[in-house]
């Protein structure tokens, strides 16, 4: 497209036609603050924090930089006194109806509103105090709460729910001063068809929505001498946790994370990656069985509890397509409380299984039916990456100075196939590595076609004399497209991987929040996924079926994949749910 010339704070710059004032300033190295703006997802110009002075020949005036396109010869002032004054006043007005309990707020220290107030020198938070809205906190969902007293009505959560995830269970109700974000007929979130993905939390600029915090009972369990407290960490957590301690996006935290968990007092520090390998053994076997015995195809992965719940609410007729495998989190807990308990002579009732997850839907998943292999819940507490970050901080552990440590044996042994579970396409790649070996005896490792952050990826592989068509989707609006193609008969895939969050678990709803000013210009999905693919490349074993601990657990306990015992412990069932 043709270039146009603009002058930003006196400096000339050439930008493509259609560039917004915000983007032009970014190119010039100036970050204009935003609150409501999410590139391509929420471009509504509503919050007025980004106002900037522009002159198009008729004198300078304030426009919303996030949605205002540059014109040729436009002059732009990004931080004139008028601009600063306007932004400061907007902040003061937001604060006039904001619950300003910053000291006890979960977002304190990394709140986008708090930072702007500091940046713009808001000294009198009560300047425009008057009538205030008072809202009840919604605690009805298993995974999160909503405290609208802290909501600034930016609508980022609404946009991500409706557009990115194609769900739309939250929105703006009422109008004017009475406007609030909620669900239809004021249902609590737990009564709606919310799938618990937590993408709304990941994009919230303030502390209005957050995961339910279970760090206290975990610390109590650690302090209880009767209990053996085991911890497992999902693949994607190691790709995000370091951000809680000031490290750049895309820092590998695996070794320091294991060290920190040990210093928090967990009895054994294990790795969900072990169970990811186990999942592959069961899932690849289930796939081969379905192909050979004329079972329901395409088969769809079941690792992502947000996706599973989505299917139960919105596509219940497709539930037979879901793999019956439990997710790695649940397989891990089930194996720990049966096989490991037996091996170590522990009573499953005295094992407290804690998981660290990049995910909020995992908090819902632990309370599902048919997830109690040893007669007690497979997993007792599912914490997010953010909760672990807070625990480490509170314990005074100097994370960045920790040595790199290893996971404990035997449930800490894993492969490169397992660690890529945390990125979109990773489960598919891992499954294909093992399925290929099962069917041909050969070795297939790198499968680049299913990598990358596109929402929907398709590929065909020759496995023996079989052409296997695979499809990978992440983000539930992309999943809808794939599911609709199954329904209308245009889907040619035999095997489909779906993850609820765009880019997979690395961008999960439980990962550290990244300010939108950064997210709008950096693809955090790709940066974090790179950590996992680099780890995969560096691992000595990169196929699940070659994991020595996996071989051992089948020899000593399960027999073979798909055995009666494996079905009892590692597989589950699904239910139809309504849409609200």
């Amino acid at each position: 497209m043709a270039d146009i010339t603009v002058k930003i704070n006196g400096v000339e710059l050439s930008v493509p036609k259609g560039t917004t004032v915000l983007e032009a300033a970014h190119i010039a190295g100036i970050e204009i603050p935003t609150l409501c703006y999410m590139k391509e997802i929420n471009e509504i110009g509503a919050c007025r924090i980004c106002v900037t002075e522009v002159n198009e020949g008729r004198g300078f005036r304030l426009v919303a930089a996030c949605v205002y396109p540059c014109s040729d010869n436009m002059e732009i002032r990004t931080s004139s006194p008028k601009v600063i004054e306007s932004r400061k006043k907007t902040l003061e007005l937001i604060l006039s109806d904001h619950d300003r309990k910053c000291l006890s707020c979960v977002r304190s220290g990394h709140c986008e509103l708090q930072k702007l107030c500091k940046d713009y020198g808001v000294e009198d938070a009560a300047k425009y105090d008057g009538v205030k809205n008072e809202f009840e906190v919604d605690n009805s969902a298993a995974h999160m709460y909503r405290d609208n007293n802290k909501c600034i009505l930016c609508r980022r959560c609404v946009a991500v729910c409706a557009k990115t995830q194609g769900i739309g269970v939250i929105g703006a109700n009422e109008r004017g001063f009475k406007t609030y974000i909620g669900s239809a007929f004021d249902m609590g979130l737990g009564e709606t068809s919310c799938v618990s993905c937590g993408q709304c939390i990941a994009v919230c600029p303030v502390g209005a929505i957050a995961e339910k915090d279970f760090t206290k009972p975990v610390l109590e369990a650690i302090a209880d001498p009767e209990k053996t407290v085991l911890v497992q960490t999902a693949p994607a957590v190691r790709a995000g946790l370091a951000e809680c301690f000031g490290n750049p996006i895309g820092t590998n935290a695996e070794g320091k994370m294991a060290a920190a968990l040990r210093r928090l007092g967990f009895d054994k520090v294990f790795d969900t990656d072990f169970a990811a390998d186990l999942t592959i053994m069961e899932e690849a076997n289930e796939f081969v069985e379905r192909v050979q015995n004329g079972g329901v195809l395409p088969m769809i992965t079941s690792c992502s509890p947000g996706w599973v719940k989505f299917c139960e609410h919105y596509y219940p007729e497709l539930l037979p397509h879901l793999s019956s495998c439990k997710s790695p989190q649940q397989m891990f807990g089930a194996t720990a409380k049966t096989y490991y308990a037996e091996k170590m002579g522990l009573d499953p009732k005295n094992i407290v299984m804690v998981s660290i997850m990049p995910c909020t839907a995992k908090k819902f998943e632990i309370g599902r039916e048919d997830q109690s292999a040893a007669g007690v819940p497979d997993v007792d507490y599912a914490l997010t990456t953010r909760e672990l970050g807070r625990m480490i901080e509170r314990a005074g552990i100097n994370f960045n100075a920790l040595p790199e440590e290893k996971f404990d044996d035997p449930l800490g042994i894993s492969t490169g196939a397992a660690v890529i579970f945390g990125a979109t396409g990773g489960v598919m790649e891992a499954a294909l590595r093992t399925a290929y070996n099962t069917l041909t005896g050969g070795t297939l490792i790198d499968i680049p076609e299913v990598r990358g952050t596109e929402g929907i990826k398709k590929a065909t592989y020759k496995v023996g004399d079989l052409d296997v068509n695979v499809t990978v989707a992440s983000g539930l609006s992309n999943a809808r497209e794939v599911l609709d193609s199954i329904k209308n008969g245009t889907c040619d895939a035999q095997f489909i991987e779906i993850m609820a969050c765009p880019g997979g678990c690395v961008n999960g709803g439980g990962q550290p929040q990244v300010p939108m000013g950064i997210r709008n210009f950096v693809d955090i999905r790709a940066e974090r996924a790179k950590v996992l693919y680099d780890l995969d490349k560096s691992m000595p074993v990169r196929q699940s079926h070659e994991n020595p601990a996996i071989k051992q657990v089948y020899e000593e306990f399960f027999g073979k994949p798909g055995s009666h015992k494996a079905h009892e412990v590692l597989h589950t069932s699904y239910v139809k749910r309504s849409v609200n």
Binding site: E136, S140, A162, V169, G171, N173, A184, F185
Partner: protein
């Protein structure tokens, strides 16, 4: 959380539903179809309870929350039916300075409902209205076609008794 689901039992008929389905069928592929569909739905049922909004949601694929957001945004839509007796209290300037606000509050308290709602037995619904052109009688309220003027808060009980 308090739920704004109407406590008046839904009494929609199959004829009304057939009418609504036909309206949706005609309009659902139009751009901006939601407003006209909701206006017609309110014409058919008199109000837009969850049962009606769910039909609209199921047939158009628009999430229920989005529909509810539109319904609560516009004053023209109501979540509650009209009662057998519709009480309108004038909150126009003249009536308001003569104390109609207190009368309105007293009615909300006596009936146990907020303005815009209907009692669970379907008997009374309460609304605020603007000037009805009887400022000389301020403060004024109407019950269906009956007009009551020069009221005090103490008159509320007597008026309600007449319709009990």
């Amino acid at each position: 959380m308090s739920s704004a689901k109407s406590t008046v039992p839904f009494k929609g008929t199959p004829e009304q539903e057939a009418q609504l389905l036909q309206v949706i069928e005609e309009k659902k592929d139009d751009k901006g179809a939601l407003m006209p569909i909701l206006q017609k739905a309110q014409e058919i049922y008199g109000y837009l309870p969850i049962e009606v909004q769910k039909i609209v949601s199921d047939k158009t694929g628009i999430p229920l929350e989005k529909i509810y957001g539109v319904v609560t945004f516009y004053a023209q839509f109501s979540l509650y039916p009209k009662g057998e007796y519709t009480i309108s209290v004038c909150l126009g300037t003249a009536c308001y300075v003569k104390g109609s606000g207190d009368i309105y509050n007293k009615l909300q308290e006596k009936l146990g409902i907020a303005g815009g709602e209907c009692t669970p037995d379907g008997k009374f619904s309460l609304d605020a209205c603007r000037c009805i052109g009887a400022c000389g009688l301020a403060p004024v309220l109407t019950v269906n076609e009956d007009v009551y003027g020069r009221l005090t808060v103490d008159d509320v009980d007597k008026i309600l008794e007449k319709y009990a």
